[in-house]
């Protein structure tokens, strides 16, 4: 990405500790508007914690997090989150429509406009015709789409996603990946994507942050030189895709010692 652009989110010397345990240490990075940036690393190295930091759900113990130049003091509506645990992150007593509506209600969108926005968002996430279904009546993939629809209802500038496709089957996963890329291309929303899956990270991202554990710190930031639009087959057969995959694999493996 161009370095001339001012960063949308920047972290300067950020530490996070819980009691005496340091979970993240000395984080320094910037996220630019419209980019897709992934974060990978061993389990428990602090990926979710970094996302909560960016969301404003968690205050740093040291250093500063800023959004468009101003320090982050709490959650903002410009930042939407898609939680890993979709089964628990939806309101079980509201239908698909109602769950999307929640975000619009909070934004103060008036009733009639809300209806059309909901239809739009459900159609966008491939849930048209499922307006009246309760989360419990939906498959995992549908629930995750619904979470995405709700996040998009916030009309966010930044979308924070915590292993959003982790628990889905391979086919659903791939189609959601493509829809996400499509969304990013159309709306220009910034995406911060936590994942365990290295191929997924490469496929989606412009850059990948590799975290090292104990305490969580940045090991390397990888640039992804692959062209867009991407394609499940062609992109994944690309030489640089395979090379990057190798590099990332060695990085994560190496970090486990």
């Amino acid at each position: 990405m161009s370095t001339a652009m001012p960063a949308q989110i920047s972290l300067a010397d950020v530490d996070v500790s819980f009691g005496s345990k340091t979970v993240l240490s000395g984080l320094n990075f910037e996220v630019f508007k419209g980019e897709v940036i992934s974060i990978v690393g061993a389990s428990g190295c602090g990926k979710t914690t970094s996302l909560r930091l960016l969301a404003g759900l968690l205050a740093p113990s040291g250093g500063s997090v800023s959004f468009e130049g101003k320090p982050v003091r709490g959650p903002r509506r410009e930042t939407a989150i898609v939680f890993q645990d979709y089964g628990k992150a939806l309101l079980p007593w509201r239908t698909a429509e109602g769950n999307v509506s929640l975000a619009l209600e909070v934004m103060g969108v008036p009733g009639p406009e809300r209806r059309s926005r909901i239809s739009e968002l459900l159609a966008l996430t491939g849930l048209a015709g499922h307006h009246d279904k309760y989360p419990a009546q939906m498959s995992g993939g549908m629930q995750q789409r619904l979470q995405i629809a709700r996040a998009l209802a916030q009309d966010p500038a930044v979308l924070l996603m915590d292993e959003p496709f982790g628990a889905l089957d391979a086919m659903t996963r791939q189609s959601l990946q493509d829809e996400l890329l499509d969304l990013s291309a159309r709306t220009g929303v910034t995406i911060y994507f936590v994942t365990h899956d290295l191929e997924e990270a490469i496929y989606l991202s412009d850059r990948i942050i590799g975290l090292l554990p104990n305490p969580g710190r940045i090991g390397r930031i990888f640039d992804v030189p692959l062209p867009r639009p991407r394609d499940q087959l062609i992109t994944k057969e690309d030489r640089s895709f395979l090379a990057l995959r190798h590099e990332l694999y060695d990085f994560v493996k190496g970090s486990e010692h």
């Binding site: 759900l57 959650p75 509506r77 930042t79 989150i81 628990k88 309101l91 209600e105 909070v106 916030q154």
Partner: protein, 256 residues
């Protein structure tokens, strides 16, 4: 198929109920039990119809129904709001939750003399007793329901920068709804019991007073008619709560 077995089992259970009434008739007419203690079912039914037609039993029933409902309504208002307050504030909970838990097993009826002492024998006293007694299940259930909201949903709300009162209204209370509805059902039962007890104690018009008066006069058929009305009230309130639950908790049954 499911419909058929449902209808069949309903028919069977209705048949059994009718057979039991037949048994009642047999036992009573054969005088296996003195008729004072067990009048004939058809005589009980006659007493019920007469009492409703001449209005005496009807008025008593309506008086009891009114007390039960208003007392319960007050209990719902107070219990749910207090529960929401205690449930939303960790600080408040540390100070008052143990006290509330300790007070819970105290039978509401034992407080009637205290209420009489403070308020005096009046309609307000009766409503106060019912509301106070029926409030506990609601208070504790609402608190419990709100405390045990899925933490992730609270984060969802925070991520939307939802103000606190909206979190309560849109997340915590709906999520506590199953607990609250169960408590509303229990409170309705408690309200009916307290209404009857208060009527027995104060002699105010109502089914409690009707039962005592008819039993003192050994008017068993009238007394049984009163018991039947109370049973019907209990049954009806349970059915209404079933309907309310089925509607309000549609999302729960939707899973299957």
């Amino acid at each position: 198929m499911i419909r058929f077995t449902q209808i069949a089992s309903f028919a069977l259970s209705l048949l059994v109920a009718l057979a039991l009434i037949g048994l009642w008739h047999f036992v009573a007419s054969a005088r296996l039990v003195p008729p004072i203690f067990l009048p004939l079912p058809e005589k009980t039914f006659d007493a019920l119809v007469t009492g409703m037609q001449n209005g005496v039993l009807l008025d008593a029933s309506l008086a009891t129904l009114r007390r039960m409902f208003f007392g319960w309504f007050l209990a719902c208002l107070a219990g749910i709001s207090l529960g929401a307050l205690v449930g939303s504030s960790q600080k408040l909970r540390i100070y008052v939750a143990p006290m509330l838990e300790t007070l819970r097993p105290l039978p509401a009826s034992s407080l009637i003399p205290l209420f009489i002492a403070v308020i005096g024998l009046s309609e307000g006293m009766i409503l106060g007793v019912i509301a106070f007694g029926a409030l506990w299940p609601l208070l504790l259930a609402t608190t419990h329901g709100i405390v045990s909201v899925e933490p992730l949903l609270i984060e969802v709300a925070q991520a939307l920068a939802m103000p606190k009162h909206k979190v309560l209204w849109k997340i915590s209370l709906p999520s506590a709804m199953p607990d609250i509805l169960a408590a509303m059902r229990l409170s309705l039962t408690v309200s009916l019991i307290l209404a009857v007890v208060c009527e027995m104690l104060t002699g105010s018009e109502g089914l409690g007073q009707w039962l005592l008066a008819t039993s003192r006069a050994f008017a068993s058929t009238k007394m049984f008619a009163g018991i039947v009305v109370l049973g019907l009230m209990g049954y009806a309130s349970s059915l209404i709560m079933n309907l309310v639950e089925a509607r309000a908790l549609k999302w729960k049954s939707a899973a299957n």
